[in-house]
Symmetry: C2
Subunit: 357 residues, 2 copies
């Protein structure tokens, strides 16, 4: 790792792809899930600041900071549904990890890909604790950018090996199935959500760009199912019929945020939900019986990004997949910032052996 | 400017120094002051979110976002007084400018040097509106990293050409005087603050690492003086005796923040202060008479950083002093993020002329 005080390691999009390919996407997701479980297990240590949002007509820009007292992390993330019209991503992100003791950044990384990975790892961690044991079949409704990551995370972490895909756009389903070919998943492309959920033990909803849609209706959800609701993730954006919520035991990341952004914005503010960290820490039961419907109402929380940043930071040394960014001013004498600029105008001095400085 | 969607221009510390040297520090400060005045003149347009602080035993990490509705900016900045012991800067910073319409970052830049420049430009803008006309002599008490920037900004923007320097550490004064030699300033090194303020029209206090210090006592401040109080900038850190505040007309950047962080934390919360933008926008008078004591209680506000980010962004094209950072994922098809990773594992395809792509 760089020891020069001016340098911050930077993981570009290119290096993030190489990191995923070098480690292998299943291993990456499994390891990352371990980091998330570790951080959720020490949840109470973290600063849980609400995200700082700047809303505009076309979208939102958010800063999501958190800290465990030793390490500080934040993510910059935007959400602009119309971006695809200009060939841009709806969501892009980057993040920073810093040392609380000195305030110095220790990592800058792309997080568009990393967020997709951590969202999938988070869903799989929830299912590991909430879905019935030994389940193998998952429906994925919504086959966009997040769908393959969800499929692979559930394969690697939960043991899912049969997928039932549905999207309003059949081309999206074809692309998802093609991207997932040859890795040991039995994939069925379905003609409707109704068909997709038939025989599914886990139902993942991950649609985009819908305002208060009803992707799942009450009659589609049988006893014992685990629902992984990923797409309802901002005010006014939900995917599930309210009746499903009333039949389910609901698990969330951070209740104050999920009540604003998640499926449970459809419920009364006092409706009982369980924060998932309580299950992971052993303070609350997860699934209690085979007929219970469990629902993970996922919106994404800063601590998951923190786990992802930690995981990437811990891989830098072995892989070398980073660049050195000259981000921090490092004058010879900390109080002489202006002198550093003056000296930058001079030709480099001849270094004598044993010279001071 | 880069047109590739994955690229964000990055200004390193090295390129920031080159930018300052290419433009010239006086011109840089003068132009930057113009950007600050422009933004202060349209103050009411801005989102004025309080800074988001993460405090720890040794310091603080802050995110300072703002937006004018078209452009969004934020700064990451730390404050760790003990950092100099390990050869680190007390304050380091970097910042991002982004397009509100798409949420895409358009600039990432070092801001340790840039913050020093904007702080000095801000002080000089305030003095331009508040100090008596035609003044030439400034005392600078505290000759650390910010002192040379203050001196040069007041020379370029206010017309100061005589400096009276004092620091508890005579080596700091010597270094400051040496760094400022040969640019047309008449510099006197003084043995005490009392000696430094003799005959000074403007008194700049910019000391560090002091808790509720009294750098200026009441008897040191005569009628007609403008005080530029820069060093009192966080809770518990002040430089002026309270009696001086009671004799002064006090101007601040953003009152809700300054009441927590500035000199006026010593006063009652209802004590009358004027936000400087009101003076710049012509809504409030600045200096009214020759015997009035004016005080600019500077703590640094997000809009100044926004002005600085805009200024640097506007210089990129002409100077070329930036690198291209591969920060944003840009799949061929926005919904096919996972496919982009898969394709990164393949050898690059041979491009046929006229092929689809």
């Amino acid at each position: 790792m760089p020891e020069k005080l001016n340098i911050v390691p930077f993981v570009s999009v290119d290096n993030m792809m190489k990191l995923v390919l070098t480690i292998g996407v299943e291993r990456f997701l499994t390891d990352l899930a371990g980091y998330i479980e570790e951080d959720f297990g020490r949840w109470e240590l973290f600063d849980k600041t609400p995200r700082v949002a700047s809303h505009s007509v076309d979208g939102v820009i958010e800063l999501m900071p958190t800290s465990d007292g030793e390490t500080y992390g934040f993510k910059y993330v935007n959400g602009h549904p119309k971006n695809t019209r200009s060939g841009r991503q709806t969501v892009t992100a980057f993040g920073v990890l810093a040392d609380v003791g000195s305030g110095y950044p220790m990592l800058l990384t792309e997080m568009t890909i990393l967020t997709a990975l951590r969202t999938a790892a988070m869903s799989a961690v929830a299912a590991k604790h909430l879905a019935p044991k030994g389940v193998r079949t998952m429906a994925i409704i919504g086959n966009g950018a997040q769908s393959e990551f969800q499929a692979i995370a559930f394969k690697a972490i939960v043991g899912v090996d049969r997928l039932r895909l549905y999207d309003v756009d059949p081309a999206a389903t074809r692309r998802c199935a093609k991207n997932l070919a040859g890795i040991g998943l039995d994939i069925a492309a379905c003609a409707s959500s109704q068909e997709a959920v038939e025989g599914a033990d886990i139902i993942t909803t991950v649609t985009a760009d819908k305002q208060c849609a009803t992707i799942l209706t009450d009659n589609m959800v049988g006893p014992g199912v685990h629902i992984n609701a990923v797409g309802g993730d901002c005010p006014g954006k939900t995917e599930l019929h309210r009746d499903i919520l009333l039949r389910s035991d609901i698990f969330v990341e951070y209740a104050p945020q999920t009540r604003i952004e998640g499926e449970i914005q459809q419920l009364a503010p006092e409706h009982l939900v369980v924060e998932l960290w309580q299950v992971i820490a052993g303070n609350a039961p997860g699934r209690r019986d085979e007929r219970q419907i469990t629902l993970f109402d996922s919106v994404g929380f800063a601590i998951e990004d923190f786990s992802a940043l930690r995981y990437v930071r811990d891989r830098l040394k072995d892989t070398g997949l980073y660049e050195e960014l000259d981000l921090l001013a490092d004058p010879d004498e900390p109080r002489d910032l202006y002198g550093m600029i003056l000296r930058a105008a001079q030709p480099a001095p001849v270094r004598l052996s044993g010279a001071l400085g």
